[in-house]
Amino acid sequence: MKFIVRAIFFTELSVFLGFFGYKVIFQIPPEAAPRVIEQRLALKAAGYTGGQLLLTNKYLESYRYHLGKILRKADFGYYFFANHPREIPGEVNKQIFPIALLPVMILGLGQIHGNWGYLLGCLVLAGDLGRFSAGWILVVWGVKRLICAKY
């Protein structure tokens, strides 16, 4: 089992590094600039002209952008509920896993201990492919636990 998980993880990692390179994480997204400008203009108009302007800057905006990107993909709705209430703007959200697998996956979470680094790596690094793999890893773990509980 560990071998399979590790194999998936390192495949994901190599795909990620090969296709996108490190700059995906460290680049400042183009969406950052308008937000920073809007917030700084508002702050200036409100009379904040000193250090408060540092509260909004492209590095913080970049951090928030990437955090948001990761966490939006960590939303249950993204995997189980097409047309869910908070769909990611600009994307067609499809149902990736059947809802019936949700309890099995929750059960599979019990197997994360000792393996969570790989699972997290799959989620963070390698786009939809990684998340799809991570989901099925959880399903396999869940089924394994069910079988173990039975016998």
């Binding site: 702050l43 108009a45 904040y48 408060q52 509260l55 939303d75 509920f81 209430p85 908070r86």
Partner: protein
């Protein structure tokens, strides 16, 4: 039930007491500092609560002239009475203003900080207790909702005290704690709509778990239940009237006559999609994306750039959930019940991640985080405490600066900013005979009553003429006055206006957009009221041709 003890030694107790007092001071500081001016505006719901409390203090009636009502109404919304009645003495003491309107919520938020710390301490010992206190002091949701007149925040305080009292009852087996817990459960149910559903669910499970102890105290339990039912009779009576269910049915997912997302007639199953929608709405309250990044979809209920918790809290939350996956005692079981029942009222509405309706779930998530922090502190010792303290300090400083500056600068429009100044301008122009206010996005009448004392008597006189006391609770239709004294609240048609200059017009920026003023012949701008961001909030003008 096996609870841990909160500091058995005297020296420990002294240290913990000092930390709790410090938490109270710091927590109070974040909640009370410039309470009247941050947030910048005064939201219509806040104005409704504050004005009704003021009316009760001055006349003994609500804004409709009903004497000491068991439930209040403003702009066709019914709200439960505890916040208003608790604010009554505050109004007597401080008068009607933004600070006095928000005081009870800030006070409730400060008390909640200590109560959550005590719950965590009672369950998992002193380190988790301190962690619970710290998490409650710094959490964005806790600061945000304590700084506005939100009756839901009061409900959270009563609910938390109810839980703490129940834990004390189970530990000490003294019936007085059970009675106290019951009393606070009733107060919680009289505070906010969501508690009317969550309290019974939590209470029934709590009673079931310790049924043997309750049987031993059956006499007190029976008297408490009877007293509780008597106290709840007005609420139960109201629940069956439109005043009780109008709001709930108005926002209910079942009553909105909208099919579930993705439904195509004849192509897929309606009920499967509806259940999937409800499940999606429910799980949205546990989604890391919503809890740690995106926040509420409504900008009025969220600070700019921050969610309900800080992103780093994901780690202690995961550890906390993991360590509590097999509850060791009834206290931990009841935390799970609290966690699972918390979002139920919000789930029944079609809004995605409505933080206010699901406010009850955030304290318990905070408790799980504090459990995780407690585990980290146990494992890493002083280094863990030092690192977490530094992260907590940086986080709360960042949040506060963001909340007090950026949020106020860019989200003032969400808080009905500008009305106070509108009526200052109105008062400074006695030469104008008549005033017309055009602001469809707010309940302008309640802002008028809040900030313009000169219009209160006239409004009370006119509303008294149209209120039928027999259907006050049963008819949820529009019941308000749109014109009284020399004031009108209506849509302005700029083609049909008074051109003598004797009528003043107050137009929200959404009704008289930038550049439109120049297209009105003879328009004289009296004053433009701006949001802190520099964008126009209101334009006050008259027309002379």
């Amino acid at each position: 039930m096996d609870f841990g003890s909160l500091g058995s030694q005297k020296t420990d107790m002294r240290k913990i007491l000092i930390i709790f007092i410090l938490g109270l001071i710091v927590g109070g500081g974040f909640r009370f500092y410039r309470l009247g001016s941050i947030p910048g505006g005064f939201f219509r719901d806040e104005a409704a609560l504050a004005y009704n409390a003021y009316r009760i203090w001055t006349t003994g009636t609500d804004e409709y002239g009903i004497s000491y009502p068991p439930v209040f109404r403003s702009f066709e919304v019914f709200f439960l009475p505890t916040y208003v009645y608790l604010s009554v003495p505050v109004m007597g003491l401080l008068g009607l203003n933004e600070f006095s309107g928000r005081l009870i919520s800030a006070l409730a938020g400060t008390i909640t900080v200590v109560v959550l710390g005590l719950i965590a301490g009672k369950l998992w010992g002193k380190k988790a207790g301190i962690a619970g206190l710290v998490v409650a002091v710094i959490s964005p949701w806790a600061i945000y909702y304590s700084r506005g007149a939100f009756e839901g925040n009061l409900g959270v305080m009563f609910f938390s005290i109810m839980v703490l009292s129940w834990f004390n009852f189970v530990k000490n087996k003294k019936p007085a704690w059970m009675v106290l817990s019951g009393l606070f459960s009733i107060l919680a149910m009289y505070s906010y709509q969501a508690e009317r559903l969550v309290v019974p669910v939590w209470g029934l499970v709590a009673i079931w778990l310790v049924r043997k102890i309750i049987w031993e105290n059956r006499k007190t339990a029976l008297i408490s239940v009877i007293a509780g039912i008597i106290l709840l009779v007005p609420l139960l009576k109201l629940t069956l009237s439109p005043a009780g269910y109008f709001r709930a049915t108005g926002v209910s997912i079942w009553k909105q006559n909208r099919p579930p997302p993705g439904w195509v007639e004849g192509k897929n199953n309606f009920w499967y999609l509806r259940i999937r929608q409800v499940l999606a709405l429910y799980l949205a309250y546990y989604s890391p994306r919503n809890l740690f990044f995106d926040n509420d979809y409504n900008k009025q209920r969220a600070a700019e750039n921050y969610s309900v918790f800080y992103a780093w809290m994901m780690i202690p939350l995961a550890i906390g959930v993991w360590s509590l996956r097999k509850p060791k005692n009834n206290g931990e079981k009841l935390l799970w019940v609290w966690l699972l029942a918390g979002p139920l009222p919000a789930t029944a509405t079609a809004d995605p991640f409505h933080t206010y309706r699901a406010l009850l779930v955030f304290p318990v998530i905070g408790l799980f985080i504090s459990r995780g922090l407690g585990v980290i502190w146990e494992k890493l010792g002083k280094l863990g405490i030092l690192v977490t303290t530094l992260i907590a300090l940086v986080s709360v400083a960042g949040f506060w600066l963001d909340y007090a500056t950026i949020t106020q600068a860019v989200r003032a429009n969400e808080w009905d900013y500008g009305y106070k100044r509108v009526f200052e301008v109105v008062r400074s122009h006695p030469e104008i005979d008549r005033w017309v206010i055009d602001d469809p996005t707010t309940a302008a009448y309640v802002q008028t009553l809040m900030f313009a004392p000169e219009y209160r008597v006239g409004y009370a006189r006119e509303i008294g003429k149209i209120v039928n006391k027999n259907n006050y609770y049963s008819d949820p239709q529009v019941l308000r006055v749109f014109a009284w004294d020399n004031l009108e609240i209506r849509t302005i048609s700029w083609y049909n206006i008074d051109t003598t200059g004797k009528t003043g017009y107050v137009a929200h920026s959404s009704r008289l957009v930038d550049g439109e003023l120049q297209t009105i012949p003879g328009a004289q701008l009296i004053e433009q009221i701006n949001y802190p961001s520099g964008k126009a909030a209101f334009r006050i003008l008259n027309v002379v041709r």
